[in-house]
Structures are given as C-alpha cells and as structure tokens.
C-alpha cells in the first residue's frame, strides 16, 4: 500500500480551494489569494475571507510539456495568470482545445476538476481550474 498524497493538508484547504476564497485586508483594502496569516502588502492581521469572482481574463499563460510525476494523462498542462479584477491568481486552465487558442485577455471561468490522483487506490484532489467561458455575457 502506498499513499503519496496528504489527506489533511488538502482537506484543511478545501474551503479555499473549492470556493476560491481570498482574503481582503481591512487595513489597506487589497485582496490576495490564497489567504495568508497577514496581509502580504501591509502586514495587517485584520483580514476577512471573500469569495473571489469566478470569471476573469488571461494576463499570461503557458503550455507545459515538462510534466511532473502522475500527470502524464493530463499533458499538456495549460496554466495561466488570471486577472479577477479584485486580485490576480494563477491556476491551471482546462478544456483548451489547442495551445494556439490561448490568447491574452481571453475570458475564463472557474470549474471543478481533478488535478492529482494518488495512483489507483489513494485520494483524488479536486481543485478549481479555469476554462474559456461557455457563454459570453
């Protein structure tokens, strides 16, 4: 039997990871993700959890072929820097039909997907990824 993926380390963060919960600083007003113990901009510990917008625009992106162990079946991995308005985040991108379809300012939205699986018998990590928006607003 072998379990490579941590049970508790993921479980502890599920709220943040599933719901895109960021932190807003009550002192300087800036939002960051994922929430840290104090504001990375001003050091204030007065933070409140905020659900981040689930739609944003690609600022930059990459198609990754140097694939870490366990993810060959998801290769290539698409990965982007996303402007959510209130803050920026990096996330895996999915449902990308081919690398050339990625464009700066492309609109993307969050959806739940598998990222890591612990071989055949261990845990599955479900994390929000971003995909091209289904319906333009």
């Amino acid at each position: 039997m072998s379990m490579d993926l941590s049970i508790s380390r993921f479980w502890r963060k599920k709220e943040i990871i599933y719901k895109l919960n960021g932190a807003k600083c009550k002192s300087c007003g800036k939002v960051h993700y994922p929430p840290k113990n104090a504001c990375p901009y001003c050091g204030s510990r007065e933070l409140e959890l905020v659900e981040l917008p689930r739609r944003g625009k690609l600022i930059s992106y990459t198609t990754i072929y140097a694939i870490p162990e366990g993810a060959r079946h998801q290769s290539p991995i698409y990965y982007g820097l996303i402007d959510l308005g209130v803050t920026k985040i990096t996330a895996e991108l999915t449902d990308i039909v081919n690398a050339n379809s990625l464009k700066k300012d492309m609109e993307v939205e969050a959806t739940l997907r598998k990222t890591q699986e612990d071989r055949d018998a261990g845990l599955i990590y479900y994390v929000l990824k971003f995909r091209p928006v289904l319906v333009q607003k």
Partner: protein
Amino acid sequence: MATPKAGIHGWGAYIPIYRLPLSDIAKIWGWHPDQYKGLAVESKAIAGPDEDSLTMGYEAAYNAIKRSKIEPKKISAIFFGTESKPYAVKPSATIIGEALGITPFTMASDLEFACRAASEGMRSLIGMAASGLIDYGLAIGSDTAQANPGDVLEFTAASGAAAFVIGRTSNASAIIEDSVTFVTDTPDFWRRASQPYPLHGEGFTGEPAYFYHIENAVKALLERNGLKPSDFDYAIFHQPNGKFPVKVGQDLGFNMDQMKDGLVTPMIGNTYNASALMGLARVLDKAKPGQKILLAPFGSGAGSDAYLITVTDEVENRKPLAPTVEDYLNRKVLIDYASYAKSRSIIHVIK
C-alpha cells in the same frame, strides 16, 4: 389522499466538450461501418482527462442552484445518482456539497440504480419537500458511462450530467404534480463489484426491461391522473440510444413533436443517469408557462419512474440564469478513439 406535490426550482446540465464520432469506434473494433446506424447516434460526449462524474455533477448542480435563486446553504439533501462513482466507498455527494457551499447541515448520499438512481433521488426529494422535512434538495444524475471496449454498448455510452433543485411548490419553475415508480427483478444489465465495465443481455435490455417498465410506469401515471398522451406538450423518456425512446413514445401514443425537444442522446449519446434528466433540462430551457411534461427515466435491473410536470410562469425568470443544454451542445470538439481511450482510462498505465 391527495398526491404530495413538489416544485422544480432550478435545473442545470453539463456536457463535456469532447465528442467521439461513432465511426471511429466501428473502425477500431472492426464493426461493419453501418453497424451503429440503427442507434440513431452519430457522436458521443466524452469527459476529459481531468473530469469524472463528480466534476460534471458539480457543474450541473452549480447551474441548477443558480437557476433556483436560493442560497446553497438552504439545500438540506443531496442525492448523487451515478454508476461511475470516483470512489466506490466515500460519498461524492459530500465533495459536491462542500464545493458548492451546501454542507454541513444536509443529508448527502450517492445512489445506485443503474441509470435511474438520480430519478429515485428526485422521488425521495418530492416526498421530503412535500412533507416539510426539507425546504430544498438537490438531485444530480451524472455518469462517465462505462462500456466494455469493443462491446456494442460502447457506441452510445457517453458522459454528461443534469441536476435539479427540488422544494415546495411555491415560487417553483415547474410543479411535479404526480409521480409513479415501477420496479421488478429483471437482469438486463449489470456490473459486478470490482469490475470496470457492465455487461448486458443485448435484446433482453429491450422488451422485458426498457419497454415493459417504462410502459407500465407511464400507463399507471396517465390512468390515475385521467390523462391521455395528447394532454402533454412534451414527453421525455430514458434514451439509451436514439431509437428506443421514439419507439416507446409512439407505442404509448406520443408523437415526434412532443418528443423531439427532450431527445438529447442522438447528439451526444447515452449519459446514463443524466439521459432522460438532461432531456428534461433541455425541455425546461424551452418550455412555456402552463405546458405539461411527461418524464420517464429508466434504470436497468430494472425500473422506471413516470412524472407529471406542469411548467409555471416562473420558468421564464430562471432560464437566463445559467447556460442552457444548447450552449453545451454547441460547444464541441471532435476527438479520436485514442484520445477517448486515454481520457477514460481504457489504456493500461502503471501509476
């Protein structure tokens, strides 16, 4: 005794982006090129390598909750109907519930009854909502639809999900006026524990299973409500292929005009637990206030439900709140058998 009634508050669907042309399956497995023509399906929807029944069910449920206009925390029962659970033991319903912000004060379980588990969830929610045990409940049907590679079943086994928020009748998009369930021990299709794919009795899945159960459920519903097929605007049946639902509908006295909007399988294949329910989602995307819908899901093993549903004025307010089935149908990219085999773990890999 008055029939307990409940309301459909929100509906949602999900179809993955990938489509496999059935001609590819015929070519790989040496079927005659016309073998699948009788199934009336041209391509099937395939979940991507990072998708499973849980992620698809999540998105369908996300859409259903959006349309219900309620806070996720108001949902106090989640029934996840699937025959392709990511975990054999460990509820997918709790993961979906947590990810949607529903937990912790909620019932949550994964149901199994081949393709009608989610429908069993809906019937349970009707009673729970009507009795006041819950305000709102979520029923999700989702499958990545396994089939033994090379089996005729592989032509139609597809991936997709549909979900419904069910609650009391007030302010609902549609009212479930009545429902009937008809089950027997009929071994037409099964998957033994620890086996990756189901087996089936070919022609035995037809007359003694699909047709017998759906016809009995629908007839019972019509009879006890004093209705005839022409009283309905829409009729939706479980759709293992493009042919069966049309035949059972015609046998029961429905016409193509009533059935065409609820037929999704010809475009994307059989999404098992989402099969008839996605038909209902598509019909609700289009239906007008006051229209009447007959819904008849079926599950092997075997059983069928028949629902009498009336659309309310509220439906118009809910339609624009989430993507429609059509939006998902229109988003598609063709893949080949090799990509499908990889993303559905048909290729043996050492992990």
